[in-house]
């Protein structure tokens, strides 16, 4: 099964639409609550990243019998130093994003914590592609 979503940069009212839909689909598959939570927290963090940093993005979730693979591709500023971005507490988020309760430099490390595989490819000035997989 494949699920596809468009994500608009800067539009915080819509952040979470994809994770919410994916959560409902995973619930219908009768997966245990802890597995679902790990997936949707990772998807939500990735969605918030696109909204907070990029201009626009797309999210594709592929569910197979053994797990879920999520790919989020954005057009945005890219990440200069991925290793630095993975460090807890490092953030380039704006004041507005921080006022909403995000931008504490915890998003990417939390995606890593909640997923079984994670790959980040980024080109400065072009955008970022984040792919992760959770095995059921």
């Amino acid at each position: 099964m494949e699920l596809f979503f468009e994500i608009k940069g800067g539009d915080f009212t819509q952040a979470g639409t994809a994770s919410s839909k994916i959560k409902k689909v995973l619930k219908q598959l009768n997966l245990d609550a802890k597995t679902i939570k790990k997936v949707v927290v990772a998807v939500y963090e990735a969605e918030v990243n696109v909204v907070a940093h990029a201009w626009r993005g797309q999210l594709l979730a592929r569910i197979d019998e053994t797990g879920i693979t999520v790919t989020i591709t954005d057009e945005g500023p890219g990440i200069e130093d991925i290793e630095q971005a993975m460090a807890i507490g490092y953030s380039t988020a704006s004041k507005e994003v921080r006022e909403m309760g995000f931008g504490a430099g915890m998003g990417l490390p939390n995606i890593k914590k909640n997923t079984d595989e994670l790959e980040i490819i980024s080109k400065v000035g072009k955008g970022t592609t984040v792919t992760f997989r959770n095995n059921f």
């Binding site: 915080f12 009212t13 952040a15 609550a33 939570k37 309760g101 995000f102 939390n110």
Partner: protein
């Protein structure tokens, strides 16, 4: 602790979820940082916060948190209430500060997460 007891101890109003008064929470966590809330592994939590926006409810939805207490008389917006209803989340509003609400609930036996 039952939601009805949380309401009583913190003099809270129920913005939505009045039919869940008998639901129990095991522990509580106070934070304005949604990034931090998203790192929690426990369920059946009460979240006490000074934040009041749609992302708060979204975060609760993803983190499997079913009860949120807004401190310092913050009002839930219609968008927050709609999203909370859709996901079975109880939104409470207390005139107390985060510090006082946390202290009152702690002294009445509600356990901290950490």
């Amino acid at each position: 602790m039952k939601i009805s007891e949380i309401i009583q101890h913190t003099k809270a109003r129920v913005a939505t979820g009045d039919n869940y008064r008998d639901r129990e929470v095991n522990k509580a966590f106070s934070s304005d940082l949604m990034s931090d809330v998203l790192t929690l592994d426990d369920e059946d939590l009460l979240l006490i916060t000074g934040l009041s926006n749609v992302q708060l409810v979204r975060t609760a939805e993803m983190a499997d948190i079913h009860v949120v207490l807004l401190a310092r008389d913050k009002n839930s917006t219609p968008e927050m209430i709609e999203l909370a209803k859709e996901n079975g989340i109880v939104l409470l509003e207390t005139p107390f500060s985060i510090f006082k609400a946390s202290g009152v609930l702690y002294s009445n036996g509600l356990q901290p997460l950490y």
